[in-house]
Amino acid sequence: MVFRALRDMDFLDGEILPMAFHLEKDVSDGRALSVEWDRYATAAECLARPRRRLAVAVAAADVGQIRGLPLVQVGHRPEPEFRAHSHIFANPPPDSAARTGIRDDLHRVFVKVEF
C-alpha cells in the first residue's frame, strides 16, 4: 500500500479529483508523484507530515494495482529524514496524452482513507 497526501484543492464535493495524481515532479525517475510506503509510514503520519503544501486528507492504493497500470512504475526513494518516501513514476517522461491517461488510471485505483 502507498499513501498520497491530498490538499484542499484535490477535492470537489468531497470527491478526489484526477488532478490529485498529476505527475508533477521532473526528476531522475522521469515524471513522478511522491507517495509514502506503508512499510514505513501510516496514513495518519502521512497526513501530519510537514510539507510545502498543507495536506487535508490521504488517499491509499495497493502497490500491485498500481504496477498493473500501463506506463507507471513504483519505487522506494527514501530520504534521510523520510524513509517512507516513494515515487510513482513514468520513465521515459510521458507525453501530455499519456499524462492525462495516467491521472485517470491512478484516480481509479486510489481511495480516500477514512480516519
Binding site: 479529483l17 492525462t100 485517470d104
Partner: protein, 174 residues
C-alpha cells in the same frame, strides 16, 4: 463561421433531450435540427453569449457550466500553482457544449454531463465516470492541444486533439 441566435422563446420551450441515464440535458436550442454544428467566431465571443444561450436555471448542462465557472476561477491556490484563466474556462466550455451536442446527434454512448473540474497547471478537466467506461478530457490554457483518455474495460484510447476544431465524443461511440 456561423452564428445561431437564441430567442427567449427557444430557451423557455422546456423541451429537453435525454441523457444516458434518462434525465434531460439540452435545451431546444441545443438540440435543434440544423445542418451545421454551431460555430462561433472565437472563445471570447462565446463568453458574451453564454449566459443567454444556456440559462443557469434552464438546462442541467447550463447549470453545470455556470456552476463550474466560479468553482474553477475562484479555486484556492497555493503560491506556486498556475492560476485558472477565464479564457481557458471558455475554451473548455465551448468545446464541451459543441461536442456534447454532436455526440447526442450521433447517438454516442457519451451522452451525459461530465464533472467539470480544475486540472493541473491551469488546465481544466472534463471527467466522465460511468458504468462501463471512463473518459478524461484535459483542456490546457492557450493554444496547446487538448488530450484525452477513454477507457472501457481493458481497452484504452488516448490522444491529442484541437478543441477548437476537432470532435472526439461522437467518435468514441464508434
Amino acid at each position: 463561421m456561423i452564428d445561431i441566435a437564441c430567442s427567449d422563446e427557444d430557451r423557455d420551450m422546456g423541451a429537453w433531450t435525454q441523457g444516458a441515464d434518462g434525465h434531460e440535458l439540452l435545451s431546444a436550442w441545443e438540440r435543434q435540427d440544423v445542418d451545421v454544428v454551431p460555430v462561433w467566431g472565437g472563445a471570447r465571443a462565446v463568453a458574451k453569449s453564454f449566459a443567454g444561450v444556456v440559462p443557469a436555471q434552464a438546462s442541467p448542462l447550463g447549470e453545470a457550466i455556470e456552476r463550474s465557472r466560479s468553482r474553477i476561477l475562484n479555486a484556492p491556490l497555493d503560491a506556486d500553482d498556475v492560476p485558472y484563466s477565464e479564457d481557458t474556462w471558455i475554451r473548455a466550455m465551448t468545446f464541451l457544449r459543441r461536442d456534447l451536442v454532436a455526440a447526442l446527434r450521433s447517438a454516442s454512448v457519451v451522452t451525459d454531463i461530465p464533472r467539470i473540474l480544475p486540472g493541473p497547471e491551469g488546465s481544466i478537466d472534463l471527467h466522465w465516470v460511468r458504468p462501463g467506461y471512463r473518459l478524461l478530457v484535459n483542456i490546457p490554457p492557450a493554444i496547446d492541444l487538448a488530450t484525452f483518455q477513454y477507457r472501457r474495460d481493458n481497452l484504452a484510447i488516448r490522444g491529442e486533439f484541437d478543441p477548437e476544431r476537432d470532435s472526439i465524443l461522437p467518435l468514441i461511440a464508434t
